[in-house]
């Protein structure tokens, strides 16, 4: 059996007061989906919850649940044991909204893995005899515009920086186990003083060498590449090393590449009190292990 990382995201650009019921999230037809974790955006932070139906079409909880704990964000609600949805199924979701107002861009992220039959995908894996070494490969994506006209992320008008490439290109294969991404620009005395490197709404779509996506739509960078909350400002002392963990890992041979698209819409950042938006340089790090073939 082959496992391949998969994210499915349900985006509701405008969630009316009173909530929505029986919202279907259509799954792909190529493979079953093993659900292992659920995370929300713009719901738990407002005290709102969700519930969904299992593959047996029963509610997974009697009441709405949230992925927040004591009002604080978490890395998501664990689903254990995993739930396996058949190909072409739908996850039926109810989303709460008792705020009395419309909620903008509510998202429920279902994380897990697709199951494929052996031999049905050209998946590489570890050689029979090997050595490993920790590794970090970095792809800078520079000057990501504040906003644009792409509608790839439901509810946003994003700038799109497409087909960024992680080339392994080393003397070893690479097993990607976790991800990190942060905005940064060097300041030099007498030289450049970059404007604030801050973003709020940035999304990423990972794709394999055949351009097959690892998600049904772009996923927020803080959900995919780590961090609890979109705390990407420079002076947040609560940041910890909370990378985005890929389960299962993505194994790339030394001649292979990984593609990813970056989307950003921070046109509302100033109005949200998050500061003046500027184009940002973001450093995407793919971390895991180099895998050396041994004789």
């Amino acid at each position: 059996m082959i496992q391949r990382h998969q994210d499915y995201q349900l985006s509701i650009p405008s969630l009316p007061a009173g909530g929505l019921f029986d919202v279907p999230l259509q799954l792909d037809s190529d493979a079953p989906f093993a659900l292992r974790r659920i995370k929300t955006r713009n719901l738990g932070s407002l005290g709102q919850g969700f519930r969904f139906r299992t593959p047996k079409d029963r509610y997974q909880s009697t009441t709405y649940v949230t992925d927040y704990t004591d009002g604080q964000p978490t890395t998501g609600k664990l689903i254990y044991p995993q739930m396996i949805y058949p190909p072409n199924a739908s996850i039926i979701v109810d989303i709460e909204n008792n705020t009395g107002e419309t909620i903008t861009n509510a998202r429920v992220l279902f994380r897990g893995s697709k199951y494929y039959q052996d031999g049905s995908l050209p998946i590489a894996s570890y050689p029979p005899k090997l050595s490993t070494l920790p590794g970090t490969l970095q792809v800078p994506v520079l000057q990501i515009p504040v906003t644009g006209s792409s509608h790839a992320v439901p509810g946003l008008n994003t700038a799109a920086v497409l087909n960024n490439i992680l080339n392994i290109g080393t003397d070893a294969d690479f097993a990607i186990r976790y991800l990190a991404a942060d905005p940064f620009a060097i300041a030099i005395d007498g030289g450049v003083n970059p404007p604030p490197q801050v973003f709020n709404e940035m999304y990423v779509l990972l794709r394999d060498e055949s351009k097959k996506g690892y998600s049904n739509e772009p996923i927020h960078v803080d959900d995919l590449f780590g961090q609890l909350a979109p705390a990407t400002t420079a002076n947040n002392e609560s940041n910890r090393f909370l990378p985005g963990v890929l389960t299962p890992e993505i194994y790339l041979q030394r001649t292979q590449a990984l593609y990813f698209d970056v989307f950003r819409d921070d046109s509302a950042m100033l109005a949200l009190g998050l500061g003046m938006p500027f184009p940002v340089d973001v450093y995407f790090r793919f971390q895991g292990a180099k895998v050396f073939l041994r004789d």
Partner: protein, 275 residues
């Protein structure tokens, strides 16, 4: 998959050995604290800073902690066999060096105030040869101060910050001009390091440009953005901004002290069992 057992070999790539191999035992060992001093001016690559391991037995690194006055930086770490375990092998010239350093050590290393120590797992563990040195390369940002000036009215502030870091940013100027004429469009002119914004007016010569309009035209005009950038605080930003006489950006200071980074390795010493 079974872990590969320990097999010393001078040409090897380090082994994945979670379990202690037969004939050995592991002892927890903290290596450090080691301290690095980097130029505070920013933009300088400091290479080959060593941390030497004890020369008795191999040391297996399983984690690293950074703390102290850690600033934002790019980093590469090479093991005692010169294999990069963070970053990639430098390509020789300076551009090659820069392209192979990575941001932070797996996390956002944002602080300069000494509060935010952070750790990073080294997984799989890395073997260091007895007496060998782990090498660090850094590229830090400036810890100087940028010149700026704030124009405030009615609870809203337009802050202009120099596009040059440190003392070089001092002396740039900003002026918001009331044209005192009807139907003048908003415009910006740059002469040297002097930025002049002519505010828009309506048919009655009343000012109509908002705080947001002025910030945007400065940031969106390459000639002006090359001198300074504008930020806003104290919404709403859609009210009319008043004219303002010439204001000079000041307070820019070059770095006065180096950046100090302190770190600690966490791991084990692998000792042969007594016969």
């Amino acid at each position: 998959m079974m872990p590969v057992k320990f097999a010393p070999n001078p040409l090897f790539k380090p082994q994945w050995a979670y379990s202690t191999p037969d004939g050995f035992h592991d002892e927890m060992f903290i290596l450090g604290t080691f301290t690095f001093s980097l130029p505070g001016s920013g933009g300088v690559v400091t290479q080959d800073l060593p941390v030497q391991c004890d020369d008795d037995v191999p040391y297996y690194i399983r984690g690293i902690m950074f703390g102290g006055n850690a600033a934002n930086f790019f980093i590469r770490i090479r093991d005692t066999y010169n294999n990069p375990i963070v970053g990639a092998q430098p390509a020789g010239n300076i551009a090659g060096v820069l392209s192979t350093l990575v941001l932070g050590v797996g996390c956002w290393c944002s602080q300069t105030d000494g509060d935010n120590a952070f750790g990073f797992p080294i997984e799989p563990e890395v073997e260091c040869s007895p007496g060998g040195s782990v090498l660090f390369d850094f590229l830090g940002t400036s810890n100087g101060t940028a010149a700026s000036v704030a124009l405030t009215s009615g609870g809203t502030t337009l802050t202009l910050t120099a596009a040059l870091m440190g003392a070089a940013g001092n002396g740039a100027t900003i002026t918001l001009v009331n044209p005192a004429a009807p139907n003048v469009p908003l415009s910006v002119a740059v002469v040297g390091r002097n930025v002049t914004v002519t505010l828009a007016t309506d048919g009655a010569s009343a000012l109509t440009s908002t705080w947001l309009d002025v910030a945007n035209i400065i940031n969106d005009t390459p000639a002006a953005f090359a001198v300074m950038f504008a930020t806003l605080s104290g919404p709403p930003f859609t009210t009319v901004i008043p004219a303002h006489g010439l204001a000079t950006l000041a307070g820019g200071l070059n770095s006065s002290e180096p950046i100090t980074i302190q770190g600690t390795f966490i791991g084990v010493k692998r000792r042969p069992n007594c016969v």
